[in-house]
Amino acid sequence: MTGEFRKWPEFSWLSDTDTWKSAEKITAGIDIGTTSSQAAVFADDELFGYASIHTGADFTLAANTVIAKALASSALSVGDIGTIAATGFGRRNVLYATKTQDEISCIAKGARFIYGPAVTTVLDMGGQTTKAILLHEWDRVREFEVSDKCATGMGRHIETAAEILRVPLTEMGDRSLETENDPEPVSTTCFNFAYSEMMSLFREGYKEDMYKENEVIASYLFAVAWRILGTVGKLAPLDIGDIKIKEVLGFTGGLAKNKGITKRIERELNITAIEGKHDPQLAAAIGAALLA
């Protein structure tokens, strides 16, 4: 395993103004996930800077790096930030945080910031956990569902799958959509079964006419999408009928950028998710900053 295929681009942004100097309130939200870490800094409820990095093996290091990246060349330092809220799997490692905040509230708040007040169903798909949140028109959580234990580590396992397949992670989604018909998904029970079955698809030998690699990826990502449907479908299902969710749907989390997953979920739910104004991976960090 070389680690070259599972890479996804880190990113950061910084406002070119210096509004923070006159701001009454500067807040930051730090989301330390198992796979990626994000930071978002707000000056008077206006986005000032953000960053997203790989978490790696050291959560504390990730927490320190991500805020440094978000503040980048600005003169703003951690000490200038009034409140810093930490969230996510590794939140206890954000030693400079002034408070902690639960993930569900952060994602809900962040999704409203990214997608506007219209969004009612938020589907957050991260490295570790999938969360489906039903929101009231004001930002209060009406109901939420968290993926079960067998489904944990979805994002991380897709990284592993990329490594085994030797296909760059960032290409998987698009390539999976290049197949004509979606093949039956591999096992949806857990990701260990899923990628072992995915690799089994190559057992009969790789031949152009038999298993196009794209179909294998499609079969795998379909299983991932199907598993996520099991989580989002639990938000108030009907007594009788197909799975329906309350429109409008917004995706957040790192997997929101994988079209192979989002398109399949949209297809099965017969719904089109809305476009946001910011990177969906930032939702929890933004929410934490806004709640700080």
Binding site: S187, T189, F193, L229, I240, I243
Partner: protein, 439 residues
């Protein structure tokens, strides 16, 4: 290497079987539409309710779920998702999830409306999931529902315990009949029911003939044929007389095949048994094994149509008759009839329940002269998986080569890694020094 080639030819009884099956399907479809007809969830293994109640059709969720699994992966997957999001665990049997998932969706595979059941008749079985599955059809509409037990214990037959169990079961069944008469205004036909008591034993007699014939080398028919026919006796006794005739001519044909050395697999050189079929959409593993000259002679599951059987000292299978109803006692009332049924049933339950399963399997392996056994392990379905590993060890000890593979359940392909399974079959065969005789 065995160069022997036996003659093979298709079964002639096939046409008749298809006809009977279609007839059963029609009867269910009609039952839903006929005025005054009642549709019940339940099972007809020991006692077919429609014999006493003309207008009552009993459907079990197992065959419904199995049919879905064999016909459409996509639809049954959708059904399972529908039940999962409503709170069903993923460890639940695929048959149940398919059938009741379809109820949650409100439609069936062909887009027709799901036929809601009018009542739920108990489904006693040692498997825990049978116990609770009758609840699903009453959750969406408050239909009548009854209970019953599957009493069991360990150790030798104990007349005192037996008596309480039989009284209990008979009472539960009589209560159901009383209630159906009261609620649905249908009269139960005692005479017809008493008159039908000999049908099941007669059917079992014919089926036992087939089981015995299958101990021959070459095996006259294989597991696949057994599966195709066994629902015709167990679940679909539309016309008991006709079913019996069918099984009689079936047994006759098998006898003819044995006499003329007609084989199920031309190159038979390895005989194997199994515990359960793979998911129903993947029965091609039988064909795959034939490439190695391997024939499946059945399973306890498919030979159950013969009723409870055990290997006698003569090396032949016999019905277990540990507890026979007293001879000469006249059966006058429905209570007598039920007592008769359950007394007889109690006798053999000890041979097919989970307690004995791991012991009787060695009898089975010996009687059918098997070289190997496939013991699937299901993640969903308690009753199907309980003691499988122990059975494997026991068979292993007696020199039978055992292969375990994993999946969810025959009604659920989720966890069956098809290619890995075929790979395991290759490993199994090649490690025994057998190579494919054909590509």
């Amino acid at each position: 290497m065995n160069k022997q080639r036996w003659e093979t030819r298709p079964l002639e009884i096939w046409g008749k079987a298809k006809e009977l099956r279609a007839q059963w399907q029609r009867s269910i479809n009609e039952a839903a539409e006929r005025p005054g007809a009642m549709l019940a969830h339940g099972n007809t293994g020991e006692f077919d309710w429609s014999i006493g109640f003309d207008d009552l059709t009993v459907i079990e969720d197992n065959p419904v779920g199995a049919m879905m699994a064999s016909k459409s992966d996509a639809f049954s997957r959708k059904c399972r998702l529908a039940s999962e999001v409503r709170g069903w665990g993923r460890e639940i049997c695929g048959y149940v999830q398919n059938c009741w998932g379809s109820q949650f969706l409100g439609y069936e595979m062909d887009d027709g409306a799901f036929p809601f059941r009018d009542m739920s008749i108990p489904f006693p079985d040692p498997c825990d999931q049978h116990l609770k599955r009758g609840q699903q059809c009453m959750d969406l509409s408050p239909i009548p529902r009854w209970g019953a037990d599957y009493p069991m214990y360990l150790g030798p037959l104990d007349p005192k315990r037996e008596q309480a169990f039989i009284d209990h079961t008979v009472y539960c069944y009589l209560q159901i009949i009383d209630d159906i008469e009261r609620i649905f205004d249908h009269k139960f036909d005692d005479e017809k029911m008493i008159g039908s008591l000999n049908i099941l034993p007669a059917l079992r007699e014919q089926a036992l003939r087939i089981s015995r014939l299958m101990t021959h080398t070459p095996a006259p028919i294989g597991q696949k044929e057994l599966y195709s026919f066994y629902t015709l006796g167990l679940l679909t006794k539309v016309d008991p007389k006709e079913t019996l005739d069918f099984w009689t001519s079936f047994a006759d044909e098998v006898q003819w095949r044995v006499d003329n050395h007609i084989a199920a697999v031309a190159t038979e050189r390895f005989r194997w048994m199994e515990a359960h079929p793979s998911p129903w959409n993947f029965l091609k593993y039988f064909r795959y094994m034939e490439k190695y000259g391997a024939v499946c002679i059945g399973s306890q599951y498919s030979h159950i149509i013969s009723g409870p059987i055990e290997l006698g000292e003569d090396g032949q299978f016999h019905h277990i008759q540990r507890k026979k109803p007293p001879e000469g006692q006249e059966i006058r009332t429905r209570e007598d009839a039920f007592r008769h049924i359950f007394t007889e049933a109690r006798g053999y339950r000890f041979k097919d329940d989970e307690y004995c399963r791991k012991w009787t399997i060695t009898d089975f392996a010996k009687g059918f002269h098997v070289d190997g056994a496939i013991m699937p392990l299901w993640r969903g379905g308690v009753g199907c998986t309980l003691t499988r590993k122990e059975q494997g060890l026991r068979l292993s000890e007696m020199g039978v080569h055992v292969l375990h593979y994993e999946g969810s359940q025959p009604g659920d392909r989720t966890d069956l890694d098809e290619r890995r399974f075929l790979d395991q079959l290759d490993t199994w065969m090649e490690s025994l020094g057998l190579e494919k005789l054909e590509a």
